[in-house]
Subunit: 457 residues, 2 copies
């Protein structure tokens, strides 16, 4: 009679290697264009990145090795919360009255409450190995800043987080969490950097932006011998570290006796939780001839995969980063203030973009009211309150389940619940009280941003 | 090389029965005095309680069966988060430089983030079975209200939560969480009950109290045919439901190959998480001749076990409940505003009180600054930010670990981390910014409260 709700893996079955999608892209006929130096237009080399990142991460950024071994000290920290559980959504399936079987991987069990520590711990470890004493980073909604603060503390590194001022003021709990982990958190723009001072001179009350915060963190790292910069998404090595998610999921589905999934779903901002779940399934499609649909869920307010163009652009608003070929809305595109702060990004991971361009993945854009409707229904059935970002995957999974009900055909749906929403309940309050607004970005505004793309070639 | 961090149990090893301490108290020579009707001074019978509780719970309140079977539908809901993990605190042991081995049971993985759903789900289930449509309860800091809101939703019951106004205003996230689970939450005193209206007439700006909120919830249940009352601690059946914690822990320690614990620790407010972890160990002491020290950690601000008297008193301030023989500071004792809202209670579970009176358990009172010092150190080592209540157990465990370092002798320490502090970060902010104040309740004030005890016998 009793049905298994949680599929757990013992620590002994935690992945020993990260999976590198770049090794399998050639077999799918997909080319990953080089990252270019913004001044010369030439491919960047390791030396260009050395002021910002430790060499081990730079090498991981460009490696074509299919598997990269996870050092035992990182695995030891991972064991604080990994392997994470895979849940069968029995109650939600019943609430949706669907013949679909729904599984969700839950990354919210990590100390900081999302998938972000998977790469934060790895980045802190390699920095520590190379003698770095201090990390600088930016954070918007705070998921990434919390994860890096936790990871830095584990390895005895100092950590300074430039937090977008509007979030700093609106989300004090995120700031306090980072401080509890021992990090120094300042509102950005701050008087601590030249970039911050310039903004403050023109507008002492600037609410800040992720673009400004990145500029401050990069300047901090570039101008201090003891400090490196750390980024929570977009880059190859970040997505690499997240692939423990998908590898565990494949093993857990096997243990559950589930059918191979018909569709695998994750939300996408910069692409790290999507890549983490999806890339091991993409490999199965490429190498083993599976036919799983791989679906990225993004907000209509920041629709880079569904409405952006695939071209070279800066990773940041301030035009300080190398040029990456990706789906972009233009580096000075300012997304509307949706509650899923982690998805408010103009660009996208180069790997995810290349997969989309090659037709190996699909993407859907979702408005936030429909997203929170799904999240509340999920919370009432399954108990877990999703992070606003993760709620996009919840909605996409719900739509797949409803389509299954419509067609009367079962299907196996797997999605990544990348984090909990304990620090984002104001968004639920807005939804429940009918205050939540949908944003559809006007095509004209996107096209204006795209006119300011850098000229390459 | 790799050490096991988490000791997990498969769902198939989740306890099938709750353990009832009352069956083993006679073997220890401990008598549990009857609960008395406040008007007659006579022992209360099932009929006296029927307006407030379903008969199944009333019978569990008085049963002397050693084991009570957990119905499969409750076990199915438990499987959403149970069995909960037992962690070995390797990193914290290292930070404390102690030869002690420290294990902690983590109940914060439940949907609402604490041990409370263990009984909330059971209570909602039995109410549903007996045709109840609606539950009424009170909540202070919000852990209990969140748990009952979640449980009521699972079984399709309406839920109304009277939330102490000062918490309602200061902890909007807790209120939103309950509403996300579908509950109706009103600040107490409310205009919805006679008890509330009376208070509001005298003081429209009343900050409320747990005593007033209990009065409102009890009146709501007593005056509506479709509604029963639900309580989150103190009563025998509540502690009974929590004993899954200790049973799982014993099995997990066995799997870990740990020594039988030298000391078992939990915090105590009304006694439910303490009883949940400790009672199965108390049984081993009584029946199997073990010598485990069982330690209750309470706040100096509300020191019922360490400074109260063992006598009959009301469970609530408004003198509406039956009289329970317990350690009490007096029913009109108003604890100072410490951040561990769940421990701000004048009384104590009758079972826990009887154990303390018989010398079968120990108790220690801790000031909140020392408590938060321990909690921050724990969070920085183990990643999890403890709830302020649970942090009392963290401090007590730390003191045991430091004593082991002092004496140079190892010992095995087990404590219950009953919940996470994600909704309590303001307390951490106060600690980190040096604003936190310790409270030592003046003996004179306690003695004044004790002079107003009811006269029984």
């Amino acid at each position: 009679m009793s049905r298994q709700k949680k599929i757990l893996l013992p620590e002994s079955e935690m992945p020993t290697h990260w999976y590198n999608l770049n090794a399998d892209l050639p077999a799918a006929g997909v080319e990953l264009p080089p990252v270019l130096h913004p001044a010369t237009g030439q491919p960047v080399g390791p030396d260009d990145l050395a002021p910002l990142f430790p060499m081990a991460l730079i090498l991981q950024e460009v490696t074509t090795d299919r598997y990269v071994e996870i050092p035992e000290p990182i695995r030891e920290v991972y064991r604080m919360w990994r392997p994470t559980p895979l849940f069968r959504a029995y109650a939600w399936e019943q609430a949706l009255d669907t013949p679909a079987q729904i599984y969700y991987k839950y990354e919210g069990v990590s100390p900081s409450g999302s998938h972000k520590p998977n790469t934060a711990v790895a980045q802190a470890y390699y920095n520590k190995q190379e003698g770095v004493k201090r990390l600088a980073t930016e954070t918007g909604a705070g998921q990434w800043g919390s994860a890096l603060s936790f990871a830095a503390q584990i390895y005895g590194l100092e950590c300074k987080v430039y937090m977008v001022r509007v979030s700093y003021d609106q989300k004090p709990y995120r700031r306090i969490l980072m401080e509890t982990y021992g990090a120094q958190v300042v509102p950005s723009p701050s008087p601590d950097t030249q970039a911050g001072r310039q903004v403050l001179e023109q507008d002492p009350d600037s609410p800040g932006s992720l673009g400004i915060a990145i500029s401050e963190a990069v300047e901090d790292a570039a101008t201090r011998e003891d400090t490196k910069y750390s980024l929570g998404s977009v880059l190859n090595h970040v997505l690499l570290h997240q692939t423990v998610i998908g590898q565990e999921t494949i093993r857990q589905l096997e243990i559950a006796g589930a059918d191979w999934p018909d569709v695998v779903i994750a939300c996408t901002g910069g692409g790290s939780n999507f890549g983490g779940l999806a890339f091991p399934f993409v490999r199965e499609n490429i190498v083993a001839g599976r036919k799983t649909r791989i679906l990225a869920a993004e907000p209509t307010a920041s629709p880079s995969l569904t409405r952006g163009v695939y071209t070279y652009d800066f990773g940041d608003t301030a035009q300080m980063t190398p040029l990456i070929k990706m789906h972009t809305l233009g580096h000075d595109f300012v997304p509307p203030p949706i509650h899923a702060g982690g998805l408010r990004y103009h660009g996208m991971s180069a790997q995810v973009s290349a997969l989309k361009e090659a037709g190996l993945i699909e993407a859907v854009a979702l408005p936030q009211r429909a997203v929170f409707e799904a999240a509340v229904g999920f919370a009432r059935a399954e108990g877990i309150v999703p992070a606003p970002e993760s709620a996009h995957a919840v909605r996409a999974a719900m739509d797949e389940a409803l389509a299954a009900r419509e067609s009367g055909q079962g299907r196996t749906i797997v999605f990544n619940l990348s984090g909990h929403g304990h620090f984002d309940l104001a968004a639920y309050d807005a939804y429940l009280s009918g205050q939540l607004v949908d944003y559809e970005y006007p095509q004209e505004a996107i096209e204006q941003s795209l006119q300011r793309l850098p000229q390459v070639d």
